[in-house]
């Protein structure tokens, strides 16, 4: 039992590394797609209720259109914080605190942030 595994060792490591690299490169495109899905989903992010997003059907206009996000939020962490709890900066903000009230999970907020940041 030991012999074959030992022999497998270096090859397996190399293979794992390869797959890992490919996966992480691919993940960002997939992640963006996943983030978009959450953003558009009415029972999840439901961003379109209030925000215009390129390619999103029937957007509302309560909030500002989500465009040129990198210039509006040079610091991505600030964008994430805004999504997590907009009332931290403005207690009267109409935007639901997606993270503070666990409307989305932390992982989902990461994905949505990545997606919104790409707009």
């Amino acid at each position: 039992m030991t012999k074959p595994t030992k022999r497998l060792g270096p090859a397996a490591t190399a293979l794992a590394l390869c797959i890992g690299l490919v996966l992480s490169a691919q993940a960002s495109a997939d992640d963006l797609e996943a983030g978009k899905k959450i953003a558009f989903d009415r029972s999840k992010g439901n961003c379109l209720t209030c925000h215009h997003i390129e390619g999103g059907p029937l957007p509302g206009n309560i909030g500002p259109p989500l465009i040129a996000m990198k210039s509006r939020f040079p610091d991505k962490a600030k964008l994430r914080a805004q999504i997590w709890d907009a009332t931290a900066i403005n207690p009267h903000s109409i935007m639901p605190p997606m993270g503070r009230h666990r409307i989305l999970s932390e992982k989902e907020i990461d994905l949505v942030t990545d997606y919104i940041y790409s707009l």
Partner: protein, 109 residues
């Protein structure tokens, strides 16, 4: 092929070891009973200040975290029950906190 089988066997062994380590059902049940009491108290506290959220126990909610937890426990799935109770407790506490923060809400134009 031989190599593959060996690797597979190893994985199974590791997985098998992992599966036997968690607490026994008895202590999970005890944990559940404490968590249930906490959740129920938190929900009553939120309800008392009109701060209860939709999905905790309202009859028309599709989620109904609190009754669903009790159902899961009755079916013996304490892990699921504990997860649901955690959500119910969080929501109840957040609803109570919200009602307290909004205590002085009034006209703003």
């Amino acid at each position: 092929m031989k190599k593959l089988i060996a690797a597979f066997g190893l994985t199974l062994l590791i997985a098998g070891c992992n599966a036997t380590t968690p607490e026994k059902p008895a202590s999970l049940k005890a944990q559940y009973e404490v968590a249930l009491k906490n959740a129920q108290a938190a929900v009553e506290k939120a309800a008392a200040v009109d701060g209860e959220w939709r999905d905790i126990r309202w009859k028309k909610s599709k989620k109904r975290y609190l009754p669903s937890a009790i159902k899961a426990a009755e079916a013996g799935d304490y892990e699921k029950a504990l997860k649901l109770l955690e959500i119910a407790t969080f929501q109840a506490e957040a609803g109570y906190k919200q009602a307290m923060e909004q205590k002085n809400a009034g006209p703003r134009f």
